[in-house]
Symmetry: C2
């Protein structure tokens, strides 16, 4: 395969020379936010893009890598900040690296057993998401949150793991003082021992 | 393993929170540059750092990733720009991603069969080094060249592949007009079919 040169445009959140793009609008994120009324109200006024991703997938061979750029818009559903769907890697023992380009965000992480971690991402912060951690990005700022990322090409994504548990264990909301706070998510159902074991069994 | 947050300082070329650091001084790079007289003359005046690397190696498990930041000083040995030693991955089918942070550089690539590629790296350029390409960084500017990078944790490095061939096929020199040009390296010995086959056999 030929070497490639691509160009990230941080302001636009684009990867010139990449191989793919997708975007998630609010209507794609039904059931993710706690405040359904606020969700429906925002949807009634339009269907904003919450985040968009451009990436290069050279292939999905084991040992290769995928990388790209994601741009999250700022916003809230009620008090809850815009989030990505979140996922765990379908091949569970695959990590991911997120790299802050602009804006202010959080990487929300959760182990299968329900340990929660929140890591602040600012420009030039690197967040290392170890194998077997569910992860989701949150824009806690007033501007776009732009990050670049890289992960092994054979990682795959299980996007449903969060929904199966009734959401992540915590929700991140505006604290009313210009910052954020994490609160317990009352709809969260801890994974059973069998469900946790199933995640560990996805290692390759 | 716990999630981590690290911080890149582009001006200093550092990775706060990383696990390792190494630097290469001119005396570590004997035999790399064409002009031995200019090399010895610069060495006699001191032993400057040519480049330094800080990285995080969470582990070397297959499927994990290593990342870091490299800072190359500007300079020339005779007309030849400062270069890194260069390598191919010991596990040959492992890629690498370099990401320009500041300065102006080239990624010099060579296939085992002797195809040459030169890719310019500027801030926010991403260079994708595909599996099975020998690669080396070159600072063609007047300032530090700072790049971040990521590669699979089980890649390994064969640093000797370039020396075994009498150098890379091309050398990159100052063109005397503020730019660069690539010239043939007269000491380069093309790899034999058996040597090329040996590289392909390192895939995992």
């Amino acid at each position: 395969m030929e070497p490639l040169c691509l160009q990230v445009d941080v302001a636009k959140g684009t990867l010139a020379g990449g191989s793919g793009r997708y975007e998630k609008r609010l209507s794609d994120l039904g059931g993710i936010y706690a405040d359904r009324q606020a969700f429906e109200a925002m949807l009634a006024e339009g269907d904003p893009v919450v985040y968009a991703v451009e990436d290069l997938k050279p292939n999905t061979h084991p040992g290769d890598m995928i990388f790209g750029v994601t741009r999250m818009r700022p916003g809230k559903i009620g008090a809850e900040f815009f989030v990505t769907r979140g996922h765990i890697h379908a091949t569970g023992n695959r990590p991911e690296i997120y790299y802050g380009e602009s804006g202010t965000g959080l990487m929300q992480l959760e182990s299968p057993a329900g340990e929660s971690r929140l890591i602040e991402i600012r420009p030039r912060s690197v967040c290392y998401v170890p194998p077997f951690w569910i992860h989701r990005s949150i824009n806690i700022g007033h501007d776009d949150l732009v990050m670049t990322f890289a992960y092994p090409a054979d990682s795959g994504q299980d996007y449903d793991i969060i929904a199966r548990a009734g959401g992540m264990k915590q929700r991140v909301i505006d604290n009313g003082q210009g910052g954020w706070t994490a609160i317990d998510n009352p709809t969260y159902r801890p994974r059973t021992a069998a469900e946790i074991e199933r995640v560990w069994s996805t290692a390759a």
